[in-house]
Amino acid sequence: MKFIDEYRDPVAAQRWLAAIHGLVTRPWTLMEVCGGQTHAILKYGIDELLPREVTLLHGPGCPVCVTPLEKIDRALALASRPNVIFCSFGDMLRVPGTDRDLLAVKAAGGDVRIVYSPLDALKVALENPDKQVVFFAVGFETTAPGNAMAVYQARRAGLENFSVLVSHVLVPPALEAILGSPSCRVQGFLAAGHVCAVMGYTEYLPIAARYKVPIVVTGFEPLDLLQGIYLSVKQLEEGRAEVENQYSRVVTKQGNRQAQSIVTEVFCIVDRAWRGIGVIPGSGLGLRDAYAGFDAERRFDLSEVGPRPEPAECIAGLVLQGLKKPHECDAFGRRCTPEHPLGATMVSSEGACAAYYRHRRVAAGQEGAR
């Protein structure tokens, strides 16, 4: 397949691997930020092929994994209401709330629908004028423009039966939170290519400078990842800490201005809780006052869903910050499996625990992964 196979070429991959092996003189710990990158790394076995010295930690960039429990419970409460059609991206359906998930709500009679785009949820609202349609607006900067556009169009069309439950998060504040943690092990980042396609990478320049970490904007195919790792290791070996763009076929420094402007039109920056991590100041997007009428949390009385304490068995928070690897959890693969996840990192195919469970049980369980 053109524009895909070139980036999965095994011969070129071997060349990049050899280059990385030739470059490394001491141990380095890198974090790939995006769950899509984690998935590709484990699917292709890239971590297995790297020199021993290079350790990859899996970052918090999976929207399913970081949406806080309270939001999930609010989604479940909304989806259970008889007059509501609840629309969501597919992989949010299996994220456990306090006592059930959206799949279970659907089985109990709730009208829960998978959509591929928030604009499809808008269509559902147009087709069902007697119902309230709520879209679960989650994700990073990547999904924000589409979700913003849905709200923008809803307001323009005067749609009164459409609203969004917002739990948007932003990458740069999460990176700062990780770097600010006293036990931080991360020495370099592979930044999420698709987030940067929207936002550009100017936001990362002050982070690289302040914390002295290389940040390489990286794509999602095997060669992208290998090249991103190469560039990061090269910077570390040479004592540099710069922002570089490996994913230049997609990402520009300024990003997608139109996408940014619709996000700015509809959303403003707010403090946001991250599942397993806690509140990170200025790390989320919320609706601006002009669009507050489309905020499901204002339209519906959700006072029955209060703050949610979270049990302590799962180490998802530590996994998301790169402090632990999934198989270092006692529950991993025993009490915690994709069918019965203890944490959201086990739910999404992008989640680090699920990726480990699917791709790496042999190595993790029997040989001890690096």
Binding site: L342, E350, R361
Partner: protein
């Protein structure tokens, strides 16, 4: 930003078990197997059922009779490459074929939703008859029920089939051995993506057609060719990955699969890339895998390639003594990973 502390780990309470049946319980993955084991196998357990094969083989006097059943629920009823009717015939014919049986006769039960156009039903039935003729089998008994509007997707079909086993091989999961080769009969993922493309309105230069087809001809050729066939499995819901895991799990063997030779058509790969799906988990309706001694692998491929429906047959792996129950796949870069069974259905990813 203020200095972050080392956060306490936090996580939601587990969902131990679902008290209601989810759609995911029908996805061909781990949840479905749990449901079968907990509800059906525990209630019905007997030696024939417990073999875990696609069809039961009954000894009737000197004859060995294969018996199987399957129900068909698909939306839309008509799709490129097939209909619910052709699925209902070929699916059951193929379950018989996986026991190495020659299909003799089928039953057909129709659960029809009030309001379905008779013309639509006639088109479904005509496609069934055509598929039956192609597969060399007759529909000899049947049943009709009608349910209220809104209680069915137009029509649901159940078929049962009987066939005769005319060879002495014990084709079953329990017969596979470490050292066996795994042979795949052709390209994967077509049926699932044909349905998804229609449902999701994906437009391609030419429509992806379902691989829906009867598999009796290559299988009967294979069992009469002198190959010591240990097991056969059609790869349907849950895809190649689930079928491999089912055999590895029930036979307690390990498997090493090479993903490089596994054929996937370009249009199917493209559709999978767009939706974030892995073709290894996408449904098929005319593909199967063969387990046979490694030294006979080339012969299996040669026999299968004589038939258009299995013209792209190839060896994709072998069974091992290591890691019983696990399927390990070698990636295109040469690294290995576990090819697990999915929980339910593949869900489209956020980004």
């Amino acid at each position: 930003m203020s200095q972050a502390k080392d956060f306490a780990p936090s996580c939601p309470a587990p969902i131990a078990q679902y008290p209601q049946v989810l759609l995911a319980h029908g996805g061909g993955g781990r949840l479905m197997h749990q449901l079968i084991e907990r509800v059906f196998l525990s209630a019905f357990s007997n030696p024939l059922l417990d073999t875990g094969h696609d069809a039961a083989v009954l000894e009737v006097g000197a004859a060995r009779i294969a018996f199987t059943t399957d129900s068909y629920v698909v939306r839309p009823l008509f799709f490129p490459g097939g209909t619910i009717g052709t699925l209902a015939v070929n699916g059951t014919v193929n379950d018989l074929a996986m026991a190495g049986a020659r299909p003799l006769a089928l039953s057909a039960g129709f659960i029809i939703e009030e309001g379905l156009a008779v013309e639509t039903l006639q088109r479904v039935v005509a496609s069934m008859q055509a598929a039956a003729v192609e597969a060399g089998v007759a529909i000899v008994t049947g049943d009709t029920k009608v349910v209220d509007r809104g209680k069915g997707d137009g029509v649901f079909i159940n078929t049962a089939g009987v066939g005769v086993v005319e060879h002495g091989l014990r084709i079953a999961p329990a017969s596979v051995r470490a050292g066996d080769a795994v042979i795949l009969s052709g390209d994967i993922g077509r049926h699932g993506m044909a349905i998804m493309a229609v449902r999701e309105g994906l437009q391609f230069e030419s429509a992806i057609e379902s691989d829906c087809a009867p598999l009796s001809a290559p299988v009967l050729d294979l069992v009469s060719s002198g190959v010591d066939v240990h097991c056969l499995r059609d790869i349907t819901r849950g895809g190649l990955a689930s079928a491999l895991n089912e055999i590895a799990g029930s036979a307690k063997v390990g498997m090493t699969i090479d993903e490089r030779p596994v054929p996937v058509r370009e249009d199917v790969r493209g559709a999978c890339e767009i939706l974030g799906f892995d073709p290894m988990y996408v449904a098929n309706e005319g593909r199967f895998i063969v387990f046979a001694p490694e030294h006979q692998a080339d012969r299996v491929v040669e026999v299968l390639r004589r038939h258009p429906v299995s013209g792209d047959a190839c060896v994709i792996g072998r069974l091992t003594l290591e890691r019983p129950g696990l399927v390990v796949v070698r990636s295109i870069l040469g690294a290995t990973r576990v090819l697990d069974m999915l929980s339910g259905e593949q869900l489209p990813r956020i980004c």
